[in-house]
Protein backbone atom coordinates (compact mmCIF):
# COMPACT_ATOMS: atom_id res chain seq x y z
CA UNK A 1 0.00 0.00 0.00
CA UNK A 2 2.61 2.49 1.12
CA UNK A 3 4.93 1.44 -1.71
CA UNK A 4 2.20 2.04 -4.27
CA UNK A 5 1.55 5.46 -2.79
CA UNK A 6 5.20 6.45 -3.12
CA UNK A 7 5.44 5.14 -6.64
CA UNK A 8 2.86 7.72 -7.68
CA UNK A 9 4.43 10.48 -5.58
CA UNK A 10 6.89 11.19 -8.36
CA UNK A 11 5.74 14.22 -10.39
CA UNK A 12 7.68 12.92 -13.39
CA UNK A 13 5.75 9.70 -13.39
CA UNK A 14 2.53 11.65 -12.87
CA UNK A 15 3.39 13.72 -15.93
CA UNK A 16 3.71 10.67 -18.20
CA UNK A 17 0.49 9.13 -16.86
CA UNK A 18 -1.39 12.44 -17.14
CA UNK A 19 -0.23 12.98 -20.71
CA UNK A 20 -1.70 9.64 -21.67
CA UNK A 21 -4.94 9.98 -19.71
CA UNK A 22 -5.90 13.58 -20.56
CA UNK A 23 -6.73 13.01 -24.28
CA UNK A 24 -8.69 9.89 -23.36
CA UNK A 25 -10.62 11.76 -20.65
CA UNK A 26 -11.29 14.69 -22.98
CA UNK A 27 -12.55 12.41 -25.74
CA UNK A 28 -14.82 10.51 -23.35
CA UNK A 29 -16.14 13.79 -21.99
CA UNK A 30 -17.09 15.00 -25.47
CA UNK A 31 -18.67 11.68 -26.50
CA UNK A 32 -20.56 11.14 -23.22
CA UNK A 33 -21.74 14.73 -23.17
CA UNK A 34 -22.94 14.41 -26.76
CA UNK A 35 -24.92 11.23 -26.14
CA UNK A 36 -26.03 12.43 -22.70
CA UNK A 37 -27.40 15.71 -24.03
CA UNK A 38 -29.08 13.96 -26.97
CA UNK A 39 -30.92 11.59 -24.64
CA UNK A 40 -31.57 14.32 -22.08
CA UNK A 41 -32.93 16.97 -24.43
CA UNK A 42 -34.41 15.00 -27.31
CA UNK A 43 -34.74 11.26 -26.79
CA UNK A 44 -36.20 11.21 -23.29
CA UNK A 45 -39.86 11.82 -22.46
CA UNK A 46 -41.15 14.98 -20.81
CA UNK A 47 -42.46 14.53 -17.29
CA UNK A 48 -46.24 14.13 -16.97
CA UNK A 49 -46.33 16.87 -14.33
CA UNK A 50 -43.28 19.02 -14.93
CA UNK A 51 -43.27 18.94 -18.72
CA UNK A 52 -40.00 19.81 -20.39
CA UNK A 53 -38.59 21.53 -17.33
CA UNK A 54 -37.74 18.07 -15.99
CA UNK A 55 -34.81 18.14 -18.43
CA UNK A 56 -33.03 20.52 -16.06
CA UNK A 57 -32.59 17.44 -13.89
CA UNK A 58 -29.98 16.06 -16.28
CA UNK A 59 -27.64 18.99 -15.73
CA UNK A 60 -28.65 19.66 -12.13
CA UNK A 61 -28.51 16.28 -10.38
CA UNK A 62 -25.08 15.21 -11.73
CA UNK A 63 -23.68 18.63 -10.76
CA UNK A 64 -24.90 18.10 -7.20
CA UNK A 65 -23.37 14.62 -7.19
CA UNK A 66 -20.07 16.07 -8.42
CA UNK A 67 -20.20 18.77 -5.73
CA UNK A 68 -20.23 16.04 -3.11
CA UNK A 69 -17.75 13.82 -4.93
CA UNK A 70 -15.20 16.59 -5.42
CA UNK A 71 -15.29 17.48 -1.74
CA UNK A 72 -14.82 13.82 -0.84
CA UNK A 73 -11.87 13.56 -3.23
CA UNK A 74 -10.41 16.71 -1.68
CA UNK A 75 -10.78 15.26 1.80
CA UNK A 76 -9.19 11.94 0.85
CA UNK A 77 -6.33 13.70 -0.95
CA UNK A 78 -5.86 16.05 1.99
CA UNK A 79 -5.61 13.16 4.44
CA UNK A 80 -3.16 11.34 2.16
CA UNK A 81 -1.12 14.51 1.71
CA UNK A 82 -1.14 15.32 5.40
CA UNK A 83 -0.11 11.87 6.62
CA UNK A 84 2.36 10.81 3.92
CA UNK A 85 3.46 14.30 2.79
CA UNK A 86 2.43 13.15 -0.65
CA UNK A 87 3.01 16.03 -3.12
CA UNK A 88 0.62 14.75 -5.77
CA UNK A 89 -2.16 14.28 -3.24
CA UNK A 90 -1.68 17.90 -2.11
CA UNK A 91 -1.85 19.16 -5.68
CA UNK A 92 -4.86 16.93 -6.42
CA UNK A 93 -6.73 18.48 -3.48
CA UNK A 94 -5.78 21.99 -4.52
CA UNK A 95 -6.75 21.45 -8.18
CA UNK A 96 -10.04 19.77 -7.29
CA UNK A 97 -11.27 22.71 -5.17
CA UNK A 98 -12.13 25.26 -7.89
CA UNK A 99 -13.68 22.56 -10.09
CA UNK A 100 -15.78 21.33 -7.18
CA UNK A 101 -16.78 24.89 -6.36
CA UNK A 102 -17.94 25.41 -9.95
CA UNK A 103 -19.99 22.18 -9.90
CA UNK A 104 -21.52 23.33 -6.59
CA UNK A 105 -22.34 26.71 -8.08
CA UNK A 106 -23.79 24.99 -11.16
CA UNK A 107 -25.96 22.81 -8.92
CA UNK A 108 -27.21 25.92 -7.09
CA UNK A 109 -27.93 27.89 -10.27
CA UNK A 110 -29.59 25.04 -12.18
CA UNK A 111 -31.52 24.19 -9.02
CA UNK A 112 -32.72 27.76 -8.83
CA UNK A 113 -33.75 27.68 -12.51
CA UNK A 114 -35.57 24.41 -11.92
CA UNK A 115 -37.17 25.67 -8.71
CA UNK A 116 -38.93 28.59 -10.38
CA UNK A 117 -41.20 26.55 -12.70
CA UNK A 118 -41.71 23.60 -10.32
CA UNK A 119 -41.79 25.05 -6.81
CA UNK A 120 -42.73 28.57 -7.85
CA UNK A 121 -39.68 30.27 -6.33
CA UNK A 122 -36.10 30.91 -7.37
CA UNK A 123 -34.87 30.14 -3.94
CA UNK A 124 -36.26 28.35 -0.92
CA UNK A 125 -34.54 27.60 2.37
CA UNK A 126 -34.91 23.94 1.71
CA UNK A 127 -32.45 21.73 3.66
CA UNK A 128 -30.61 20.46 0.60
CA UNK A 129 -30.33 23.88 -0.97
CA UNK A 130 -29.08 25.26 2.31
CA UNK A 131 -26.50 22.55 2.86
CA UNK A 132 -25.23 22.85 -0.71
CA UNK A 133 -24.96 26.62 -0.25
CA UNK A 134 -22.93 26.04 2.93
CA UNK A 135 -20.82 23.50 1.04
CA UNK A 136 -20.10 26.20 -1.52
CA UNK A 137 -18.72 28.43 1.22
CA UNK A 138 -16.63 25.55 2.58
CA UNK A 139 -15.07 25.35 -0.89
CA UNK A 140 -14.42 29.10 -0.90
CA UNK A 141 -12.77 28.94 2.53
CA UNK A 142 -10.51 26.13 1.38
CA UNK A 143 -9.51 28.04 -1.78
CA UNK A 144 -8.92 31.22 0.23
CA UNK A 145 -6.48 29.41 2.53
CA UNK A 146 -4.39 28.30 -0.45
CA UNK A 147 -4.43 31.89 -1.75
CA UNK A 148 -3.38 33.37 1.59
CA UNK A 149 -0.27 31.25 2.18
CA UNK A 150 2.76 31.65 -0.08
CA UNK A 151 4.77 28.64 1.05
CA UNK A 152 3.25 25.73 -0.88
CA UNK A 153 4.02 22.90 1.49
CA UNK A 154 2.75 24.84 4.50
CA UNK A 155 -0.33 25.93 2.54
CA UNK A 156 -0.98 22.29 1.64
CA UNK A 157 -0.93 21.14 5.25
CA UNK A 158 -2.99 24.00 6.68
CA UNK A 159 -5.50 23.70 3.84
CA UNK A 160 -5.68 19.97 4.57
CA UNK A 161 -6.74 20.74 8.15
CA UNK A 162 -9.42 23.13 6.83
CA UNK A 163 -10.66 20.55 4.35
CA UNK A 164 -10.86 17.69 6.83
CA UNK A 165 -12.56 19.79 9.51
CA UNK A 166 -15.07 20.89 6.87
CA UNK A 167 -15.55 17.29 5.78
CA UNK A 168 -16.28 16.15 9.34
CA UNK A 169 -18.86 18.91 9.48
CA UNK A 170 -20.65 18.07 6.23
CA UNK A 171 -22.87 15.37 7.83
CA UNK A 172 -23.45 17.57 10.90
CA UNK A 173 -24.53 20.46 8.68
CA UNK A 174 -26.70 18.09 6.65
CA UNK A 175 -28.33 16.74 9.79
CA UNK A 176 -28.89 20.17 11.27
CA UNK A 177 -30.53 21.68 8.21
CA UNK A 178 -32.70 18.56 7.84
CA UNK A 179 -33.83 19.12 11.39
CA UNK A 180 -34.21 22.83 10.72
CA UNK A 181 -36.89 22.42 8.11
CA UNK A 182 -38.63 19.64 6.33
CA UNK A 183 -37.82 20.33 2.73
CA UNK A 184 -39.36 20.62 -0.68
CA UNK A 185 -36.84 18.23 -2.15
CA UNK A 186 -38.01 14.74 -2.86
CA UNK A 187 -36.41 11.87 -0.95
CA UNK A 188 -33.69 9.85 -2.64
CA UNK A 189 -35.05 8.41 -5.85
CA UNK A 190 -32.05 6.79 -7.55
CA UNK A 191 -30.11 4.99 -4.83
CA UNK A 192 -32.85 3.11 -3.00
CA UNK A 193 -33.07 -0.34 -1.47
CA UNK A 194 -36.06 -1.26 -3.66
CA UNK A 195 -34.49 0.01 -6.88
CA UNK A 196 -34.71 3.43 -8.50
CA UNK A 197 -38.10 5.11 -8.66
CA UNK A 198 -37.24 6.91 -11.87
CA UNK A 199 -38.14 5.34 -15.20
CA UNK A 200 -35.22 3.94 -17.18
CA UNK A 201 -35.80 6.40 -20.06
CA UNK A 202 -34.88 9.15 -17.63
CA UNK A 203 -32.23 7.15 -15.80
CA UNK A 204 -30.15 6.53 -18.95
CA UNK A 205 -29.49 10.21 -19.75
CA UNK A 206 -28.99 10.91 -16.05
CA UNK A 207 -26.20 8.37 -15.79
CA UNK A 208 -24.70 9.38 -19.13
CA UNK A 209 -24.55 12.97 -17.92
CA UNK A 210 -23.06 11.90 -14.61
CA UNK A 211 -20.33 9.97 -16.45
CA UNK A 212 -19.76 12.96 -18.74
CA UNK A 213 -19.33 15.24 -15.72
CA UNK A 214 -16.86 12.78 -14.21
CA UNK A 215 -14.87 12.70 -17.45
CA UNK A 216 -14.89 16.51 -17.55
CA UNK A 217 -13.65 16.55 -13.97
CA UNK A 218 -10.89 14.01 -14.68
CA UNK A 219 -9.74 15.97 -17.71
CA UNK A 220 -9.77 19.37 -15.99
CA UNK A 221 -8.18 18.20 -12.75
CA UNK A 222 -5.30 16.53 -14.59
CA UNK A 223 -4.68 19.63 -16.71
CA UNK A 224 -4.82 21.81 -13.62
CA UNK A 225 -2.42 19.52 -11.74
CA UNK A 226 0.02 19.57 -14.66
CA UNK A 227 -0.15 23.36 -14.63
CA UNK A 228 0.54 23.44 -10.92
CA UNK A 229 3.62 21.21 -11.29
CA UNK A 230 4.85 23.27 -14.25
CA UNK A 231 4.38 26.45 -12.24
CA UNK A 232 6.36 25.04 -9.33
CA UNK A 233 9.12 23.83 -11.62
CA UNK A 234 9.28 27.28 -13.19
CA UNK A 235 9.52 28.93 -9.78
CA UNK A 236 12.33 26.52 -8.83
CA UNK A 237 14.19 27.24 -12.07
CA UNK A 238 13.89 30.97 -11.59
CA UNK A 239 15.22 30.71 -8.07
CA UNK A 240 18.01 28.46 -9.34
CA UNK A 241 18.99 30.94 -12.04
CA UNK A 242 19.30 33.77 -9.56
CA UNK A 243 21.43 31.90 -7.09
CA UNK A 244 24.40 30.89 -9.31
CA UNK A 245 24.71 34.49 -10.54
CA UNK A 246 25.26 35.72 -7.02
CA UNK A 247 27.83 32.98 -6.27
CA UNK A 248 29.75 33.90 -9.41
CA UNK A 249 29.83 37.52 -8.33
CA UNK A 250 30.90 36.59 -4.84
CA UNK A 251 33.75 34.51 -6.24
Amino acid sequence: MAAAIYEFANPQRFETVAQRVIPFAAASAVILLGFGLYFALIASPADYQQGDSVRIMYVHVPAAWMAMMCYSIMAMSSITGFIWKHPIADVAAKSTAPIGAVFTFLALVTGSLWGKPTWGAWWAWDPRLTSVLILFFLYLGYIAIWEAIDDKSRAARIAAIVCVVGFINVPIIKFSVDWWKRGLHQPASVLRADGPSIHSTMLTPLFLMALAYMAIYACLVLISMRNEFAERRLARLERGREEPVSTVRAA
Binding site: F137, R154, I161, N169
Partner: protein, 222 residues
Protein backbone atom coordinates in the same frame (compact mmCIF):
# COMPACT_ATOMS: atom_id res chain seq x y z
CA UNK B 1 -2.63 21.18 33.26
CA UNK B 2 -0.61 23.73 35.22
CA UNK B 3 0.25 25.50 31.97
CA UNK B 4 -3.39 25.49 30.94
CA UNK B 5 -4.47 27.02 34.24
CA UNK B 6 -1.76 29.66 33.97
CA UNK B 7 -2.89 30.55 30.44
CA UNK B 8 -6.50 30.97 31.53
CA UNK B 9 -5.49 33.10 34.54
CA UNK B 10 -3.20 35.29 32.41
CA UNK B 11 -5.72 35.78 29.60
CA UNK B 12 -8.51 36.64 32.01
CA UNK B 13 -6.33 39.18 33.78
CA UNK B 14 -5.45 40.70 30.42
CA UNK B 15 -9.08 40.75 29.34
CA UNK B 16 -10.17 42.50 32.54
CA UNK B 17 -7.27 44.92 32.95
CA UNK B 18 -6.23 45.87 29.44
CA UNK B 19 -9.58 47.34 28.47
CA UNK B 20 -10.08 44.03 26.79
CA UNK B 21 -12.62 41.75 25.30
CA UNK B 22 -15.37 41.46 27.88
CA UNK B 23 -16.62 44.96 27.41
CA UNK B 24 -16.11 44.90 23.64
CA UNK B 25 -18.15 41.73 23.16
CA UNK B 26 -21.10 43.05 25.18
CA UNK B 27 -20.85 46.41 23.41
CA UNK B 28 -20.90 44.67 20.03
CA UNK B 29 -23.87 42.55 21.09
CA UNK B 30 -25.79 45.64 22.23
CA UNK B 31 -25.04 47.54 19.03
CA UNK B 32 -25.99 44.59 16.85
CA UNK B 33 -29.28 44.20 18.73
CA UNK B 34 -30.02 47.91 18.31
CA UNK B 35 -29.23 47.75 14.59
CA UNK B 36 -31.51 44.73 14.17
CA UNK B 37 -34.26 46.50 16.10
CA UNK B 38 -33.90 49.61 13.94
CA UNK B 39 -34.01 47.45 10.83
CA UNK B 40 -37.01 45.37 11.89
CA UNK B 41 -38.99 48.35 13.14
CA UNK B 42 -40.49 49.41 16.46
CA UNK B 43 -43.45 47.03 16.43
CA UNK B 44 -43.02 44.96 19.62
CA UNK B 45 -45.07 42.08 18.27
CA UNK B 46 -42.70 41.57 15.33
CA UNK B 47 -39.63 42.17 17.47
CA UNK B 48 -40.61 39.62 20.09
CA UNK B 49 -41.00 37.02 17.32
CA UNK B 50 -37.42 37.56 16.17
CA UNK B 51 -35.94 38.24 19.63
CA UNK B 52 -34.29 34.86 20.20
CA UNK B 53 -32.91 34.58 16.63
CA UNK B 54 -31.59 38.16 16.76
CA UNK B 55 -29.88 37.55 20.11
CA UNK B 56 -28.30 34.36 18.81
CA UNK B 57 -27.18 35.93 15.52
CA UNK B 58 -25.73 38.95 17.35
CA UNK B 59 -23.89 36.73 19.85
CA UNK B 60 -22.48 34.71 16.96
CA UNK B 61 -21.27 37.85 15.17
CA UNK B 62 -19.84 39.23 18.42
CA UNK B 63 -17.89 35.99 18.77
CA UNK B 64 -16.55 36.18 15.21
CA UNK B 65 -15.26 39.73 15.59
CA UNK B 66 -13.58 38.85 18.88
CA UNK B 67 -11.64 35.88 17.47
CA UNK B 68 -8.57 37.87 16.46
CA UNK B 69 -7.85 38.24 20.18
CA UNK B 70 -7.39 34.51 20.73
CA UNK B 71 -3.89 34.14 19.28
CA UNK B 72 -3.06 37.37 17.43
CA UNK B 73 -1.43 39.34 20.25
CA UNK B 74 0.49 36.28 21.45
CA UNK B 75 1.68 35.67 17.91
CA UNK B 76 2.85 39.25 17.47
CA UNK B 77 4.77 39.56 20.74
CA UNK B 78 6.29 36.10 20.47
CA UNK B 79 4.63 34.47 23.45
CA UNK B 80 2.97 31.98 21.11
CA UNK B 81 6.46 30.73 20.14
CA UNK B 82 7.26 30.29 23.81
CA UNK B 83 4.01 28.41 24.29
CA UNK B 84 4.80 26.05 21.40
CA UNK B 85 8.34 25.44 22.65
CA UNK B 86 7.55 24.97 26.32
CA UNK B 87 4.27 23.11 26.60
CA UNK B 88 4.46 19.43 25.75
CA UNK B 89 0.74 19.30 25.03
CA UNK B 90 0.01 22.21 22.76
CA UNK B 91 -3.54 21.00 22.21
CA UNK B 92 -4.24 21.48 25.92
CA UNK B 93 -2.91 25.03 25.64
CA UNK B 94 -5.21 25.65 22.66
CA UNK B 95 -8.10 24.33 24.74
CA UNK B 96 -7.06 26.72 27.51
CA UNK B 97 -7.04 29.63 25.06
CA UNK B 98 -10.54 28.68 23.92
CA UNK B 99 -11.72 28.41 27.52
CA UNK B 100 -10.35 31.84 28.40
CA UNK B 101 -11.90 33.25 25.23
CA UNK B 102 -15.24 31.81 26.31
CA UNK B 103 -14.91 33.11 29.86
CA UNK B 104 -14.02 36.63 28.66
CA UNK B 105 -16.40 36.78 25.66
CA UNK B 106 -18.98 33.99 25.68
CA UNK B 107 -19.99 34.19 29.33
CA UNK B 108 -20.62 37.97 29.24
CA UNK B 109 -22.77 37.41 26.15
CA UNK B 110 -24.77 34.74 27.99
CA UNK B 111 -25.45 37.19 30.82
CA UNK B 112 -26.14 40.20 28.60
CA UNK B 113 -28.42 38.44 26.13
CA UNK B 114 -31.54 38.09 28.33
CA UNK B 115 -31.16 41.71 29.44
CA UNK B 116 -31.04 42.85 25.82
CA UNK B 117 -33.99 40.53 25.29
CA UNK B 118 -36.07 43.02 27.24
CA UNK B 119 -35.37 45.63 24.54
CA UNK B 120 -36.55 43.16 21.91
CA UNK B 121 -39.76 42.35 23.75
CA UNK B 122 -38.64 38.80 24.52
CA UNK B 123 -41.36 36.95 26.46
CA UNK B 124 -40.39 36.46 30.14
CA UNK B 125 -40.54 32.68 29.74
CA UNK B 126 -37.90 33.08 27.00
CA UNK B 127 -35.17 34.58 29.21
CA UNK B 128 -33.96 31.34 30.71
CA UNK B 129 -34.01 29.30 27.46
CA UNK B 130 -32.11 32.03 25.61
CA UNK B 131 -29.46 32.21 28.33
CA UNK B 132 -29.28 28.44 28.71
CA UNK B 133 -28.98 27.75 24.98
CA UNK B 134 -26.27 30.42 24.69
CA UNK B 135 -24.49 28.98 27.73
CA UNK B 136 -24.39 25.55 26.09
CA UNK B 137 -23.75 26.76 22.52
CA UNK B 138 -21.21 29.58 22.91
CA UNK B 139 -18.44 27.23 24.14
CA UNK B 140 -18.79 25.53 20.76
CA UNK B 141 -18.53 28.93 19.05
CA UNK B 142 -15.37 29.74 21.03
CA UNK B 143 -13.79 26.36 20.29
CA UNK B 144 -14.51 26.38 16.54
CA UNK B 145 -13.46 30.03 16.49
CA UNK B 146 -10.18 29.24 18.25
CA UNK B 147 -9.50 26.65 15.57
CA UNK B 148 -10.13 29.21 12.82
CA UNK B 149 -7.94 31.72 14.66
CA UNK B 150 -5.18 29.11 14.90
CA UNK B 151 -5.45 28.34 11.19
CA UNK B 152 -5.16 32.00 10.20
CA UNK B 153 -2.77 33.26 12.88
CA UNK B 154 0.13 34.16 10.58
CA UNK B 155 -1.90 35.09 7.51
CA UNK B 156 -2.71 38.30 5.75
CA UNK B 157 -6.37 39.37 5.70
CA UNK B 158 -6.96 37.03 8.62
CA UNK B 159 -10.25 38.61 9.71
CA UNK B 160 -12.18 37.93 6.51
CA UNK B 161 -10.68 34.44 6.38
CA UNK B 162 -11.82 33.77 9.94
CA UNK B 163 -15.35 34.81 8.98
CA UNK B 164 -15.28 32.63 5.88
CA UNK B 165 -13.99 29.61 7.80
CA UNK B 166 -16.23 29.90 10.85
CA UNK B 167 -19.57 30.87 9.32
CA UNK B 168 -20.25 27.47 7.63
CA UNK B 169 -19.13 25.60 10.74
CA UNK B 170 -21.34 27.76 12.94
CA UNK B 171 -24.45 26.85 10.94
CA UNK B 172 -25.40 23.81 13.08
CA UNK B 173 -24.75 25.73 16.31
CA UNK B 174 -27.08 28.59 15.45
CA UNK B 175 -29.76 26.24 14.09
CA UNK B 176 -29.93 24.18 17.26
CA UNK B 177 -29.29 27.20 19.50
CA UNK B 178 -32.24 29.16 18.13
CA UNK B 179 -34.26 25.95 18.00
CA UNK B 180 -33.65 25.34 21.68
CA UNK B 181 -34.32 28.95 22.68
CA UNK B 182 -37.63 29.02 20.79
CA UNK B 183 -38.77 25.57 21.92
CA UNK B 184 -37.91 26.42 25.51
CA UNK B 185 -39.87 29.68 25.43
CA UNK B 186 -42.89 27.92 23.92
CA UNK B 187 -42.61 25.04 26.40
CA UNK B 188 -42.24 22.50 23.61
CA UNK B 189 -40.87 18.99 24.03
CA UNK B 190 -38.11 19.73 21.50
CA UNK B 191 -36.32 21.87 24.09
CA UNK B 192 -34.43 19.02 25.78
CA UNK B 193 -33.21 17.23 22.63
CA UNK B 194 -32.10 20.50 21.00
CA UNK B 195 -30.11 21.39 24.11
CA UNK B 196 -28.54 17.94 24.13
CA UNK B 197 -27.52 18.19 20.46
CA UNK B 198 -26.13 21.67 21.14
CA UNK B 199 -24.10 20.23 24.02
CA UNK B 200 -22.95 17.40 21.77
CA UNK B 201 -21.69 19.89 19.17
CA UNK B 202 -19.80 21.85 21.83
CA UNK B 203 -18.25 18.68 23.29
CA UNK B 204 -17.33 17.41 19.84
CA UNK B 205 -15.67 20.75 19.10
CA UNK B 206 -13.80 20.44 22.40
CA UNK B 207 -12.12 17.31 21.03
CA UNK B 208 -11.51 18.31 17.40
CA UNK B 209 -10.64 22.01 17.74
CA UNK B 210 -7.69 21.71 20.19
CA UNK B 211 -6.08 18.88 18.21
CA UNK B 212 -6.50 20.52 14.80
CA UNK B 213 -5.70 23.95 16.26
CA UNK B 214 -2.42 22.74 17.75
CA UNK B 215 -1.40 21.25 14.40
CA UNK B 216 -2.30 24.50 12.64
CA UNK B 217 -0.30 26.63 15.10
CA UNK B 218 2.78 24.42 14.69
CA UNK B 219 2.51 24.81 10.90
CA UNK B 220 2.00 28.55 11.15
CA UNK B 221 5.07 29.05 13.33
CA UNK B 222 7.42 26.85 11.29
Amino acid sequence: MRVARAIVARDLTLAVRAGGGTFQAVLFLSLAVIIYALAVGPDVGTLSLVAAPVLWASALLATIVSLDRVFQADFEDGSLDVLVETSDTLSLSVLAKAVSHWLSTGLPLVIAAPILGILLGLEPEGYLPVAASLAVGTPGLSLIGALAAAITVSLRRASILVTLLTAPLYAPVIIFGVGAAKAGAAGEALYAPSMLILAAISLFAAIVAPLAGAAAIRLNLD
